[in-house]
């Protein structure tokens, strides 16, 4: 009785939400907030070019996965790829849409953007609460050129679950065995220290408010808010600045060819110029959709976006996928998705 009541209530909610979106647009999608700026730009331009409307709801990656599994949207989007096993169980296909990157941002008096440098293990130790002062010998050792104050470090992390967090802690897990063992990776983790801000904007606001703080945000947020971002040492041992070019290098160096269902997290990517904390957004769609016409429309949109939407993505500080990868994705569509 109770069960049927709650199920019915839940259904009523979903149905009314779905009815609303179906009315408002031709193709519906839901998921990561990270890609919302580029999705809305793409859908506006696509609508102008073809007359087809896209309605993308930025409800978060977890929500996107749940919605596509419930079949209420035509595509879901997630910053965390699903493993082939989980995809197969749900009958879903997966492909990347756009690449961005996560950057460390700091608030230290007198340090200019890009001037402070970190190594991966150092970032992990700071976020573990082991390195607590800005003039710690470990930080000073990689920052010969600048003077660092004798001030406490305040760690700022996301308070909400997030694909940004997933890529950040995935990187920390790859470079620090202690992080991997104690904290692990996920869209939200048990932070040993620090304060939590809601969303990229929340972290950006806290870092700006608290002197001596360090946080992590999408590159676009750090640029828009004129924040002091740091350079990070990549897998090849080089300190690189976060930029579209270094994200692009990470995307190009990644081994997409051998990634089944594009399951690849491109943090700690090889290559001299690669940014170590690049992040990919993934699109989820049914391989055998109930309504093939709608999926076909969605694929047409992504084909247009991947081929013609590069300038729009770059204008928003995202990195469009390399041509080679786009070809691989289109081959995947032809082979896997019956639309």
């Amino acid at each position: 009785m109770l069960r049927s009541l709650t199920t019915r209530l839940a259904l009523a909610g979903i149905v009314s939400a779905a009815a609303f979106t179906v009315q408002a647009a031709d193709i519906t999608g839901a998921g990561a907030t990270f890609v919302y700026p580029v999705m809305s730009k793409w859908s506006a331009d696509y609508s102008q070019a073809t007359g087809n409307k896209i309605n993308y709801q930025s409800i978060g990656s977890g929500g996107g996965i749940a919605q596509i599994k419930a079949g209420t949207v035509d595509f879901g989007s997630s910053d965390k790829p699903l493993e082939s096993k989980e995809l197969a169980e749900a009958g879903l296909g997966q492909f990347p849409s756009v690449i961005g990157g996560v950057v460390p941002v700091v608030n230290i008096q007198g340090v200019a953007p890009g001037k402070i440098q970190f190594t991966g293990p150092l970032l992990a130790d700071i976020f573990l609460g082991k390195v607590t002062k800005w003039n710690d010998p470990q930080i000073v050792a990689v920052n010969a050129g600048i003077t660092l104050p004798d001030a406490l470090i305040t760690v700022v992390h996301r308070s909400d679950g997030s694909g940004t967090t997933f890529n950040w802690v995935n990187y920390l897990s790859k470079v620090s065995p202690e992080w991997k063992q104690k904290i692990g990776e996920g869209t939200s983790v048990q932070w040993p220290v620090g304060v939590g801000g809601k969303g990229n904007e929340g972290v950006a606001a806290y870092v700006k408010q608290i002197p001596g703080s360090i946080g992590y945000v999408e590159l676009a947020y750090s640029l828009q808010n004129k924040m002091t971002y740091g350079a990070v040492q990549n897998a090849a041992g080089k300190f690189v600045q976060p930029s579209r070019e270094s994200f692009q290098a990470a995307a190009a160096s990644a081994d997409w060819k051998n990634a089944k269902d594009f399951y690849l997290i491109i943090t700690n990517a090889p290559g001299e110029t690669s940014w170590p904390i690049a992040a990919t957004n993934f699109i989820l769609m049914y391989k055998q959709p109930k309504d093939a016409a709608r999926s076909k429309n969605a694929l047409a949109f992504f084909k247009w976006a991947l081929e013609n939407g590069k300038a729009q993505a770059e204008a928003l500080d995202f990195v469009p996928l390399p041509d080679e990868l786009v070809k691989q994705i289109e081959a995947y569509w032809a082979a896997e998705i019956k639309a």
Binding site: G60, S159, G184, V195, G196
Partner: protein, 332 residues
């Protein structure tokens, strides 16, 4: 009697008939009205029970997995699937308590000022201003808190507290910590500002109901304004005042957005009020959309159920206090 006799029999019959019909339709209307209002009353109970049960149902996985330790542990680990609600419960109660410690005396002052002290031309504008405060959306309070109040806390208030209250023997640990500006004390103060309009407008309204002759008698006996307020106005309005206080407390316990901005959203249990913490409502608001496992979602719904219980218990205690007060009054 005489009128009845004056009427012809047929008219009388028609009159009786009319009265009967009238009575019949009255009764039906009365019944319909009774069902309608009973339905409205039941609707509230059903909605309440439905909300409580669906939260309990949604949280049953968390309750059955963690048992009583859900209430007593501080883990909040989405990766290891271990959840405990102690940090959010503690944060919710502490921030609400701080808010009440500040808001109740200030509201009492505002209400007394407006009813006893202020010149009449000032009363209406100030009262309207307070009601306007109640209408400001909570997210605005949150943004004001973060961008305006937090810097003041971190640059001035917290160093002051560290210096003068930090070294004290028992209270000291409450006021030690780095000057982040974000934390339970800040959240409590912002909450206080948010609930003051509610409490003070209730107090003002009920203070106005105190009969003038009571106050004037007290003044005539030589009482000061304070004595009149404390010994006449407050006892006369006590139950309504406590009702207003608990209205504010209910709001402070459930407040979400403003708290999320200034509380720090960290699942750490610390003695210091200057350190970041978490509250039940803020945890749910922050984490629900991305809760990616069943046990995670269930734990969040279970938190919602706990907030329900916490609020219920607090309000029940308030009612009991009120009943005891009234009984003592009768005994006097």
């Amino acid at each position: 009697m005489s009128t009845d006799q004056a009427l012809p029999a047929s008219a009388l019959a028609a009159h009786n008939d009319n009265t009967a019909r009238r009575a019949e339709s009255d009764r039906r209307a009365d019944n319909a009205f009774r069902y309608l209002v009973t339905g409205a009353g039941l609707f509230v109970l059903l909605a309440l029970a439905g909300a409580a049960f669906s939260m309990l149902w949604g949280g049953k996985l968390a309750f059955s997995t963690f048992g009583i330790s859900f209430l007593t542990t501080t883990d909040w680990d989405a990766v290891g699937h271990k959840f405990g609600a102690l940090v959010p419960i503690y944060g919710t109660l502490v921030t609400a308590l701080i808010a009440m410690l500040i808001a109740v005396p200030v509201s009492f002052g505002i209400a007394l000022f407006l009813t006893e002290v202020a010149p009449p031309w000032l009363r209406t504008p100030v009262a309207s201003a307070i009601e306007l405060l109640a209408g400001i959306p909570s997210i605005i309070y949150g943004m004001w808190g973060l961008f305006v109040f937090v810097p003041v806390m971190s640059s001035t208030v917290i160093p002051f507290l560290n210096k003068y209250l930090g070294p004290l023997p028992i209270l000291g640990p409450l006021f030690q910590g780095p000057p982040l500006g974000i934390g339970m004390l800040t959240a409590g103060i912002v909450l206080a500002i948010m609930v003051i309009p509610f409490i003070s407008s209730v107090m003002r309204e009920v203070f106005l109901t105190v009969p003038t002759r009571l106050k004037e008698s007290a003044y005539a006996l030589g009482s000061t304004t304070w004595e009149v307020s404390w010994n006449v106005v407050l006892p006369y309005t006590r139950s309504a005042v406590i009702g207003g206080v608990f209205l504010g407390l209910g709001r402070a316990l459930g407040e979400t957005m403003a708290v999320t901005f200034v509380l720090g959203n960290a699942h750490h249990l610390t003695a210091s009020l200057l350190m970041p913490g978490n509250s039940i409502a803020a945890t749910i608001a922050n984490e629900f959309s991305e809760a990616d496992s069943e046990i995670y979602q269930s734990s969040l719904v279970a938190l919602g159920f706990l907030l329900f219980i916490v609020t219920f218990v607090v309000l029940a205690i308030a009612k009991l206090m009120l009943m005891r007060l009234n009984r003592n009054e009768g005994a006097k």
